[in-house]
């Protein structure tokens, strides 16, 4: 039977606050956690961070005290949800190990969304971003193997391949070329709004994470790699936020945020293999159903508009973490040479020498060593080859095939 969160009863708001010990979750065991359970934790943390930040921005743009009270109350609970989720990550999992988890999320979540996306124009955007995050996973995996040292295969569990994507060095482009065509909240398939918001949240939290922890390593190569890839995450946030309908009201956006939280907790509850996490997703779904009801109430009161008009009639197919190796290889083979020019994706080789892409590349790379390249060179020097995990055969792109992998 189909599930519609608008027709369900959630946990009453006054019963949603939890005490410190309830929030201080027992962390997962980093050696035995299912890699996709780790991914789900990382995603839901990003979603809850966005929930809190969006609510803060809404409050900062309103002089209505009663509205601020309502937002503050729900936000306090969203903040507790964020803690309960993020505190699942164990202290003995290094920031670099967690980083591998972030990039596995970026690959397999984006791959899922691209395949489920009903709008072909938006699907192309996700595929474009996918190849860039796929490359980040490879660069960080080499850093991990070199500095900790540890094989990233143990973290991704063989579910995601690790090899070059669109080389990070080529991903840096002028900010004007990161903007894409927006969807229409009232005309596009509602699933497109959910997808854009989900990927934007995931990329936003990846950006936040690298901004914060990127200066924690001592090794210059690690600090350099985090700052370089952190700048690409900024590009990705610019790209994905430009997909959203900027004409939406604060209340409409709040409703979409809350529905999306329901959708993701519902999805993860369906697919979670860890019973303890499954129970947490279920608990949070019960809370989010109430948050959604309150957001819909606000939209009806303030906008005098019907929230059902911007939401799916029933819950879409659950967002599922699963291997996407064949799909990623296909996208690699077809699109690795692309870059962006204005709103379009075009072969890099088609850009004239005078294009702003080349000026931007010159500005950020200059004559210095580029960390995303240096990490591979240094790995080769120390270990006699680069680190890859190519379980499905050689790289599908001729010039990216491995020569000296360790």
């Amino acid at each position: 039977m189909s599930f519609n969160p608008l027709k369900e009863r959630g946990v009453p708001l006054e019963r949603q606050l939890r005490n410190w010990s309830e929030l201080n979750s027992q962390p997962y065991d980093k050696d035995s956690i299912d890699p996709y359970s780790r991914c789900r934790v990382i995603v839901m943390n990003g979603i809850e961070v966005e929930a809190a930040m969006y609510s803060h921005q809404f409050s900062r743009h309103s002089a209505n005290l009663e509205l601020k009270r309502k937002l503050a109350m729900v936000r306090r609970v969203e903040q507790q949800q964020q803690k309960a989720v993020n505190w699942l990550i164990p202290g003995d999992e290094s920031t670099l190990e967690v980083t591998i988890g972030f990039e596995q999320v970026a690959v397999d979540l984006t791959a899922w969304v691209a395949q489920a996306e009903p709008d072909p124009v938006m699907k192309r955007v996700y595929e474009f971003g996918l190849l860039e995050d796929f490359d980040h996973l490879y660069r960080y995996a080499n850093l991990l193997d070199m500095t900790e040292p540890k094989k990233a295969a143990a973290i991704v569990g063989g579910l995601t391949e690790i090899m070059p994507g669109r080389p990070t060095i080529l991903e840096h482009r002028h900010p004007h070329d990161d903007l894409r065509r927006p969807l229409n909240l009232y005309g596009s398939d509602p699933l497109s709004s959910l997808h854009a918001l989900t990927i934007m949240c995931a990329e936003q939290q990846t950006m936040n994470f690298y901004m914060t922890i990127g200066n924690r390593p001592i090794e210059p190569i690690a600090r350099g790699l985090y700052l370089e890839i952190g700048q690409i995450e900024e590009q990705h946030v610019t790209q994905y936020e430009s997909l959203l309908d900027a004409s939406a009201t604060w209340c409409e956006n709040l409703v979409v945020h809350e529905y999306n939280e329901c959708y993701l907790y519902y999805s993860f509850m369906q697919t979670e293999v860890d019973p303890r996490l499954k129970a947490l997703w279920e608990l949070h779904l019960g809370m989010e159903i109430e948050h959604l009801r309150l957001a819909c109430e606000l939209m009806r009161d303030m906008d005098r508009r019907d929230p059902e008009a911007i939401l799916p009639p029933e819950m879409p197919e659950p967002v599922t973490f699963r291997p996407n190796k064949e799909y990623v290889r296909k996208v690699l083979a077809e699109q690795v040479e692309l870059t962006a020019d204005e709103l379009e994706f075009v072969p890099l080789s088609s850009l004239p020498k005078s294009h702003r892409y080349h000026q931007y590349q010159q500005a950020v790379h200059g004559k210095s060593s580029v960390p995303s390249e240096a990490v591979i060179t240094e790995h080769e020097a120390r270990k006699g080859g680069e680190y890859r995990l190519e379980s499905e055969g050689p790289h599908p792109v001729e010039h990216l095939k491995m020569e000296n992998a360790s």
Partner: protein, 173 residues
């Protein structure tokens, strides 16, 4: 350009619209804005070739802002409640898609990279799509709204449309 634009265009006062007399205010509001938008793009298509780039782009910016505010307000205040009320919403969904197609062409036209000839070709397509869209909307879609929505709903559509238009005009400017 494009003799096609010249031969196919209509002046703002002789649009291919339904001749039915309709009572509800929402229809008058939408028709007036349709005529205004069509008049703006017709002027660009008819005279754009002889305009300086800056003048053509300035006129296009005015047109884009007016059309975006109109279509977003229309989607919220007219299409959304009509979808809800209509037993068969296929016509409204079709109109949604036409909005999206026009919006994408408007984004193309905002690109500084298009040369004048290709720019004018796209502008002509926008005009033709708009003519088609308006003809269907003022005919079949207005008929649908008249038959499926009561007076109160139609009155609310008009109020909502005006409020949304005012809000969106600031956002898309």
């Amino acid at each position: 350009m494009t003799s096609r634009a010249k031969t196919k265009s209509h002046s703002a006062t002789e649009k291919p619209k339904s001749s039915k007399t309709r009572k509800a205010r929402i229809f008058e509001l939408l028709k007036a804005e349709h005529a205004e938008a069509l008049g703006m793009i017709e002027e660009i298509c008819e005279n754009g070739e002889t305009m300086e780039d800056a003048e053509r782009l300035e006129k296009f910016d005015e047109f884009r802002a007016a059309l975006m505010a109109h279509s977003q307000a229309e989607a919220r205040a007219f299409y959304a409640p009509l979808k809800e009320a209509a037993s068969e919403p296929a016509l409204v969904l079709e109109a949604d898609v036409e909005h999206i197609v026009v919006q994408r062409l408007l984004e193309d036209l905002s690109s500084p990279k298009l040369d004048a000839e290709r720019w004018m070709a796209r502008a002509t397509v926008v005009m033709e799509l708009l003519e088609h869209h308006i003809e269907e909307e003022e005919g079949e879609l207005f008929d649908l709204a008249e038959s499926e929505c009561d007076e109160e709903t139609l009155a609310k559509m008009a109020d909502d449309f005006e409020a949304e238009k005012e809000r969106l005009t600031e956002i898309v400017a």
